[in-house]
Structure formats: C-alpha cells, structure tokens
Symmetry: C2
Subunit: 302 residues, 2 copies
C-alpha cells in the first residue's frame, strides 16, 4: 500500500477516461457541430477526472471481474459530463462570473453565454442518454443501471448539487452559520462525489453493507475534497490553480479557512481523510487505489 504510485495511477486512469469520453461523446459533426464543439471544449480543456476515477476505483474495489473498468466507463463518462456541465453553469456571468477555468477561458468566454447555457444543458442530458443507451450497457444489469441513474440524478439535482449551488449563490456576501456551510458543501460538492463512488460500487455488484461503507467513504472524501478546495483558493496562486485564486475571499464567500483559519482547516481535512479510510476497513487490497485517492486529495495542499 505504501508503495502505491498514486500519480502513475491517476495518469493512467485519466488517459483511459479521456479516451472513453472522446469515443462516447457525440462527434462535432453535422448540423449540431458548433453546439457539440462547445461541449467538447469544456470536456477536454483539462480536469483531474476525480469523479470518473472514483467510480472506476470503487467498482474495482468491489468486483474482481477483470472487465469491470471497461463495463463502468460509460458511467464514469456520464459523471464527468455532469461535473463539466456544473462548472460551465457555475462560471456564467449570472452565477460566479468566472473568466478562467482549468487555465483556459470559460465556456461562455469562448462561445458566448447562450451557447454556454446550452452546452451545459446538453452535457447534463447526455449523461442520462449515455447511462440508458443499450449500446453502452456492457453487461451491467438493467436493475443496476436504473439504480445508478437514480443515485446520480438524486445527487446531481435539486436535493444535491443544483440545490447546493442555489444555497451557495444565496449565501454570497451574507454571514452564515457553519452548519449552513456544511449543508452547502455536502450538497454542492459532496453529493456527486458520493454518487460517483456509489455508481461504481453498484456497477461492481456491491451488497447492502458494502454500499453503506462506500457511502461513508464517499461522504468523507467529499468533505475532504471541499475543505481542500477552499484551502487551495487561499494558499495557491492563480497560475497553480488554473482558475482565479482568492475569488472566494473576493466574493466574500463562507469557507472553511474563513471559519477556522488555515491551520485548523488543514487538520479538519486530515480528519475527514482518516474517516474515509476507516470506512474502507472491511475491504481488501483491491480498495488500495481508493485509499490512495483519499490521501492524495489532502496531499494536494502540501
């Protein structure tokens, strides 16, 4: 475990995910070429591919089927489509109004606001197209695929990511309680990370107890991830971050560092990672990539 090369693992899986996205995403041809070009731009402009990789790693932690990664790739790609749509819409002038994302112009800066709204809508909808497409079922049962769609839709929607963004917008410039910040984090970022883990686990054939463990794991690394994101916004430069650094503070947003200071925020991130590792206690070495991913999240701040 200590010798697990997480950077190599991430590079390999990122490559697999990007190749699958390229194959599974609509081609920028025909009458809708311009619209699809905008979607593909945001999909391929960069990104760590954390959600699809979590999905693949969760599936491999549950299942010893050598084909499990192949079977889960359409699900992994659907998760990345949803994550990318959420970034496009969050960056819009009416929302966070960001010009830079992953070191490049945001979708609306590049293609205009109308096209960016539609690129987001298209990516969100395409996720559910992919998840239900019989050409991409890859041996997953109908029951598993419906459960995956349900987990992802619930997490991405109003009770999750979309609702979280609405809370986040409403909280801007206001004094909010810490509980409220937690609710924003859980819904805006945590829900889809947990769903990524669950989708992989369901596809891998997890039983009820395993799903409960995976949910605890997902919730904890989702929390760690958001804490670290808040922290990076404070301690990084814009160049390192690939998006405008310090924008949380500039927008007067409630964040972990604003509540607890940088040092205590680091400790809280470490605690969340420890909780995520504890959730994996009953899993064998096939869960090592998940464990390494959990550590990697907090190591980004060092």
């Amino acid at each position: 475990m200590d010798t697990f090369d997480i950077k190599k693992f991430l590079r390999e899986k990122q490559e697999i995910v990007v190749q699958a996205l390229d194959e599974l995403m609509l081609p920028a041809k025909g009458v809708f070429a311009d619209h699809i070009t905008a979607m593909r731009y945001s999909l391929f402009v960069g990104g760590k591919r954390v959600r699809p990789i979590l999905c693949l790693a969760a599936g491999s932690a549950i299942s010893s089927d050598p084909e499990i990664e192949f079977r889960l790739l359409p699900v992994a790609c659907a998760l990345e489509c949803i994550h990318t749509y959420s970034l496009i819409h969050d960056d819009l002038p009416a929302m966070d109004d960001d010009d830079l994302r992953r070191g490049s112009p945001t979708c609306h800066k590049k293609f205009g606001e109308a096209e960016a709204i539609l690129a987001g809508d298209g990516l969100l909808t395409y996720a559910f197209d992919l998840l239900s497409d019989p050409r991409h079922e890859r041996g997953l049962s109908g029951q598993a695929r419906l459960a995956i769609i349900q987990a992802i839709a619930r997490a991405a929607g109003s009770p999750g990511m979309v609702g979280g963004q609405a809370l986040d917008m409403a909280a801007e410039g206001k004094q909010i309680e810490f509980d409220h910040l937690r609710a924003i984090h859980r819904s805006k970022t945590g829900a889809l990370i947990t769903a990524s883990v669950l989708a992989g686990a369901i596809g891998g054939g997890a039983g009820t107890d395993q799903l409960a463990d995976m949910r605890r794991f997902g919730d904890s690394i989702g929390l760690a991830f958001q804490i670290v994101d808040d922290l990076l916004d404070v301690i990084s430069t814009t160049e390192e971050l690939g998006k405008t650094a310090g924008s949380d503070a500039a927008q007067n947003k409630a964040t972990y560092p604003a509540f607890f200071g940088v040092d205590r925020t680091r400790e809280l991130a470490e605690e969340a990672v420890s909780q995520s590792l504890a959730a994996l206690e009953r899993f064998d070495e096939r869960a090592d990539p998940l464990r390494a991913l959990a550590r990697y999240i907090v190591d980004r701040t060092k």
Copy 2:
C-alpha cells in the same frame, strides 16, 4: 369519434397531470425551499400539458390495462418537467430574453437569472430522478423504464431539443434555407413531442410495428404543433398568447409564415395533421383521444 369532447378530455387530463405534478414534485420545504419554489412556480404557472397528455393518451391507445394512466403519470410528469426547464432557459436574457410566459413573469423576471438557470437545471435533473425512482415504478418493467429514459434523454438533449435551440439561436437574424428551418423545428420542438408519444407507447407495452406507427404520429403532430406555434405568433394578440406576440418577426426569426405566408402555412398544418391521422390507421377506438389531440392542435388557429 366525431362526438369526442376534446376540451373536456383536456380539462380532465390537465387536472390529473397537475395533481400528479404537485404530488411527485419536491416539496418547497427545508434548506432548498427557495430553489424549489422557483421550480414549482414555473411548473404551475400554467401550460396546456400537451406532452404529458400525449404520453398518457399514447399509453391508453396501446394498452387496455385500466391502470395504464396511473402507471404512466410519473413519466408524464417527467416530460412536463423537461418542457418547463426548456422554457425557463429559452426565456433567459442570453437566449430569447422574454419577460412574459403563460401570461405571467418569466422565471428569471420573478426570481433572478441565477435562480432561473438553476431552476431549469433542477427540473431537467429531476425528470431523470423521477423516471428512475423505484418508489414510482408503478409496475413498469425495468426494461421499459430504461427504454423510456433513453427515448426522452435522446430527444431532450443535443441531438434533439437542446441542439435545436442552439440552431435557433445561431439562425437569429440570418437568412436560412427552409431545410434548415425544418431541422430546427424537428429538433427543438418535434423531438420531445415524439418522445412523449413513444414514452407512453413503450410504457403501454407497444411492439415494434406499433412503435413505428407512434413515431410517425409523433413526428407529424410535432411538425403540426410547430407550424401552428409559428402561425399563432403572427395572428394572435399578446393577451391571447400569454407571451409576447409578434416576437418571432421582431427578432427576425425564420418561421413558416415568413416562408409561405399565412394561408399556405395553414394548409401545411392541415397536411401534417392528416399525416398524423394516417399513422394511426391500424389502431382502434382507444386511439381516438390521440386523433382528437391531433385535430385540436390545428384547430387552435381557427
């Protein structure tokens, strides 16, 4: 058939759909109450409920199961959620910039632009939540539910409604060929209408031939519907229409009346309705509501 009271039928089905939407939509309670209030506002501000009613009527044309309407109601509601989201996003300042919809302020006028984007995102995502929720499966098979999700996602997304709106935006103020206008209509409006019919038919247990007939029916009434919408924009007052009349011409949009004049456009609408009726030739009297719906669409212009 000639005595079929379409207005009474529509009133009854509208009431059933609105009640089901109220029951099946997220309640405006808890931490996300404000966001859900915006979604519910647009969902209940009015609307003819054409897509859900087509879905129910298609199911009843295929199946003699007395419970078929009950079984299909979550699917019907999902279709209305998607239609409503598309109106909210189309009305945004960056898109058609409309202040009035169904006789009331548009979502962004009422709740602001950020909340309107999120209300749309939430409604779109909730449609797939509903369609995959095991609490609302109502005896439909997993296979049927996946096929319904697939038909709806394909029609609502980039190869359909979203792509059509992108084409429509790109065509604004430009001279376009009639074939291009047809492509816009088919994708922007036609695709989801066809999917509404197909979703009901799949849920009703349609075989391959029946699905092909239903697809022809859906395509033809989708075309009729769009032609009539173009026509109503020309011949109605804003009060009658519940949205700003004459906005197509004001925005220099390509429309059927712009290509063919009002009289020939009326004829083309009649022809599309005749084609839709021909597609139902092999169906018995259980398809009478579908037939009456087809006639009703074009009668709105008289």
